[in-house]
């Protein structure tokens, strides 16, 4: 879903930050990032792969053991949750589970709506210091924390997977790590698992295609040590934690 409420400097989907159409040039081809798609067209596309999703029973499925399904990502997919409502309903009618990858920096009404429609939330925890969050990614931490609290305390328990992008110079400072650990501790009974995403440059070709300077990704060795430490600390909280292989 094109359009995001943040502008993280390490973003690997730069084409999805702006909600506007954007021209790109890649491998001699010129094209446009972004297109409008109607509910029916989107459903046709999604249902084509239905056979790969596996059967999903909202009543029976455990907290982690979901089969495949549809994941809305972006950008910030929850910005368009109202438009997605009929799509989500049809997917559920077809026993297909729905996940979103969200940073939760959206209007509180949208979170309410998302809780009604979505089965699995992949929630980013990025920078928790209010000033730094505002300055670096352009988000209001107060809004984020309220949304997170709403999600975590939603009456029908949701499957929440927390994702921590571990980005040198942005999210790896000890102050942020402590804040993140406090936050995880607060909701540990509600978190299914934590995934740490190490920095990577998979978005480089897209930056190049858009003619935007690619972010400088710092891969210094200490991050591996810190990631191990981080994983251990999260584990001590009693939360399953994994490092995503990129």
């Amino acid at each position: 879903m094109k359009g995001c409420s943040l502008h993280c400097p390490w973003c690997s989907n730069p084409e999805n930050i702006s909600s506007e159409f954007q021209q790109y040039h890649k491998d001699g081809k010129t094209g446009v990032f972004g297109r409008y798609i109607g509910v029916d067209e989107l459903l046709t596309e999604l249902l084509k792969d239905r056979v790969f999703y596996g059967e999903f029973d909202r009543a029976k499925t455990g907290m982690i053991d979901y089969p495949g399904g549809v994941t809305f990502s972006g950008g910030e997919p929850l910005l368009q949750i109202d438009r997605l409502e009929p799509v989500c309903m049809r997917l559920h009618e077809n026993s297909i589970s729905i996940a979103v990858e969200t940073a939760l920096f959206v209007d509180e009404k949208k979170i309410k709506k998302a809780c009604e429609l979505v089965d699995i939330f992949y929630v980013d925890v990025k920078i928790l210091n209010p000033e730094r969050a505002k300055k670096i990614v352009g988000g209001d931490i107060g809004n984020y924390l309220r949304n997170l609290d709403f999600l975590m305390n939603y009456e029908e328990r949701k499957n929440v997977v927390v994702r921590i992008p571990f980005i040198g110079g942005f999210t790896d400072d000890s102050d942020n790590q402590e804040k993140v650990l406090d936050l995880l501790d607060r909701y540990k009974d509600r978190i299914s698992m934590v995934e740490i995403l190490p920095e990577h440059d998979l978005g480089r070709s897209k930056y190049e295609a858009l003619g935007i300077e690619s972010p400088r990704i710092i891969c210094y060795d200490v991050s591996k040590v810190w990631i191990t430490w981080y994983l251990k600390k999260i584990d001590e909280l009693g939360i399953r934690a994994e490092l995503c292989v990129i």
Partner: protein, 672 residues
């Protein structure tokens, strides 16, 4: 008739052709040198009969071939590469012998029946029976002399009674496989070995005669034997050997068949990691998930095996084509993927290759392009040319003269009943098959013409055709525009699927009435060994392929996602005459599978349900291939899937290496 076919039909010296084809890619000088060396070192054995035939020569050959036992092996297996027979006509090849007949029964039984048919057929069968017995007794004598008692135990009685033990069953298959190679048959498949030997294995296990691990060791030794004579056995390229082992499969009771042997063969293949013998796993929605897991383990050994063949689609289509229900359920394949009913067929499934893209450019060459004013009209013209060229193409198949084959006739049900050699139509099924290339190129070319000439009207058809003929050398901008258009073939979208199915429909209409001289029908498929060789001969197309570049490999699109390609492959109209192997083919980086094992297995399960016909994969990353090209010495054991076989990467011609590297790079881009 081409000169090569004339030689094969009429000259006994044509035996040299299959032995030397693989060296063609090494350049003319090297090819001639190797061909001469093989001709000089290979002795043609002739019988003293005045009007000698293949049975006379085979009898003489079996008296003279070297017999030699390697004590390092559990089984006897030896091919004398330096002696052969020379007969006129094309030797039937590219299938598995029906080994069930010498496991559940005996060679003596089937040979005596054939002899009793009388006439020329019976007389030839008698000579073949004598030939097999002579070779057998010479081997027994050698084994006795060398006191090789353990192998003698498997070997001594193999001709006169049905098999009693698993090891003995394996030895019988090896013995007749060796005779097939020795008598100039090529691409000799192994067949449904878990089914053929399942009962013997179970009985040995139940009687305490054998443990599972001992059986595993025997299977490894069996595979090692078949892996011998690698260069001699290779046909068009090194590794193109065709010793395909078929595992699993739906039975006519509707249940999926697999047993411990299915798993043991997958395990042995994984551990030994040889390119050949290779494995095909017959798959179905009804198969156990645990077998998909075992198949994934095997895939991760990176030998290109197993290839998956989807029973839920294929069996139904074989029945519709005309195979009896029980035969369709029992299908094997020819050397690569073409369904074949063992013990009942002459079916020569891979005689020639037809280029569907060339038809389009032949049409554009002849048509008055200014008069083609719409896409529909262009399609109608293509259809007419396709009809004409395909008719002429299949007529050429009638020019083939098949050499008499009394040995294979003995193993083929109806031949003995009819007293008719398999080469003269003695079998139940006498079909021909061919493969096609260029479906991707014609599909994308037509859709690109529609876009640029009829929708956007940026070029007239004649202008675009002129640029194509010039290989786009004088108009880079036009070529860039073509490249900028999205690839359509292999992508799960309506237009390309409709177009592909339309072309298949025209082929079916053209071919449905065809009958060869033996009353057999014709089959085709969308997978061909010829995607590089055909591409080399042809000029550019309008899909972004320049002069001489390869066509896409089977049903593939390296810029498509995996589920997208499977969706496309599953929506193709199979059936009618289009049953001759249709393989979806893609690259997967090894870590994608190892990091997502469960998801990958779910994907395979979903893909079977979605309805692909057949599926093969190269589990490989571009970095390894690039490094192997630069530093072959570091990657001596690196195996890749080529068309329907696997080969050592280092032994492939450079253009095959480059094509594999390019495909790996493209597929990695699409995944990223």
């Amino acid at each position: 008739m081409g000169i090569k076919l004339w030689i094969k039909n009429n000259l006994r010296c044509s035996y040299i052709i299959p032995l030397t084809t693989k060296y063609k890619t090494e350049g003319t000088v090297c090819f001639v040198r190797k061909a001469l060396s093989i001709a000089m070192s290979t002795k043609v054995i002739k019988s003293s009969a005045k009007k000698r035939n293949v049975a006379d020569d085979t009898l003489q050959l079996m008296k003279l071939v070297d017999v030699c036992y390697d004590p390092a092996l559990t089984f006897y297996y030896h091919i004398d590469e330096k002696k052969t027979i020379a007969v006129r006509g094309n030797i039937l090849s590219n299938f598995p012998l029906d080994y069930r007949k010498i496991i559940d029964g005996s060679f003596r039984e089937i040979a005596c029946l054939a002899v009793s048919a009388g006439g020329k057929y019976g007389s030839n069968a008698r000579k073949i029976r004598e030939a097999v017995y002579i070779l057998h007794s010479r081997i027994v004598e050698l084994l006795k002399k060398g006191h090789h008692t353990s192998v003698l135990r498997y070997f001594e009685d193999i001709l006169d009674r049905k098999a009693e033990h698993f090891a003995e069953g394996l030895q019988r298959i090896l013995f007749f496989n060796q005779i097939m190679w020795q008598t100039r048959h090529r691409l000799n498949g192994i067949g449904r070995i878990d089914r053929i030997l399942g009962d013997l294995y179970l009985k040995d296990i139940e009687d305490g005669y054998l443990t599972k691990e001992e059986a595993y060791d025997l299977i490894c030794d069996f595979i090692k034997c078949l892996h011998q004579n690698y260069e001699f056995k290779s046909a068009a390229l090194m590794g193109d050997i065709g010793q395909i082992i078929i595992l699993g499969g739906i039975g006519d009771d509707g249940n999926y068949f697999s047993n411990e042997l299915t798993e043991l063969f997958l395990r042995a293949h994984k551990e030994l990691a040889y390119p050949d013998p290779k494995i095909m796993l017959r798959v179905s929605e009804k198969m156990p998930k645990s077998l998909i897991k075992k198949a994934t383990d095997c895939l991760l050994a990176r030998t290109g095996s197993p290839i998956f063949s989807n029973d839920d689609i294929i069996i139904k289509k074989m029945k519709e084509f005309g195979y009896a229900e029980s035969d369709a359920y029992d299908y094997c394949v020819s050397a690569c993927w073409e369904p074949f009913v063992s013990g009942k067929s002459l079916d020569q499934n891979n005689i020639l290759s037809f280029n569907l893209a060339k038809v389009l450019f032949d049409h554009l060459e002849r048509a008055n392009l200014k008069q083609i004013s719409s896409f529909k009209e262009l399609i109608r013209g293509y259809d007419r040319t396709l009809f004409k060229e395909l008719k002429a193409f299949v007529k050429r198949l009638d020019d083939y003269v098949w050499a008499e084959d009394p040995l294979v006739s003995i193993f083929t049900d109806s031949c003995t009943i009819k007293g008719k050699d398999i080469s003269r139509g003695g079998a139940d099924y006498n079909n021909f098959g061919f493969t096609t290339v260029g479906m991707g190129a014609v599909c994308d070319s037509l859709l690109n013409i529609r876009e640029l000439c009829f929708r956007k009207k940026e070029y007239s058809l004649s202008a675009l055709e002129t640029k194509r003929k010039e290989n786009f050398e004088n108009d880079r901008e036009c070529y860039d525009k073509l490249k900028a258009l999205p690839g359509r073939f292999g992508h799960d979208e309506k237009d390309s699927i409709m177009l592909v199915n339309h072309i298949i429909h025209v082929c079916n209409m053209t071919l449905s009435e065809y009958r060869n001289r033996m009353g057999g029908k014709i089959k085709f498929g969308l997978s061909s060994p010829d995607y590089i060789l055909s591409g080399k001969k042809e000029t550019a197309d309008i899909a972004g392929r320049k002069n001489g570049m390869p066509y896409s490999t089977h049903i593939s699109a390296d810029d498509a996602g995996y589920t997208e390609l499977i969706g496309f492959a599953s929506d193709i109209s199979y059936g009618g005459c289009n049953i001759n192997g249709n393989v979806a083919d893609f690259f997967v980086q090894p870590n994608i599978i190892s990091d997502n094992r469960e998801k990958f297995e779910m994907f395979i399960e979903g893909a079977i349900k979605r309805g692909f016909y057949q599926l093969q994969m190269n589990i490989m990353d571009s970095a390894t291939l690039i490094d192997a090209k630069k530093h072959p010495e570091k990657h001596e054991d690196l195996i890749v899937r080529v068309w329907g076989f696997s080969a050592y990467f280092n032994e492939l011609p450079e253009d095959y290496k480059d094509q594999l590297i390019l495909r790996a790079l493209n597929s990695e881009k699409s995944v990223a």
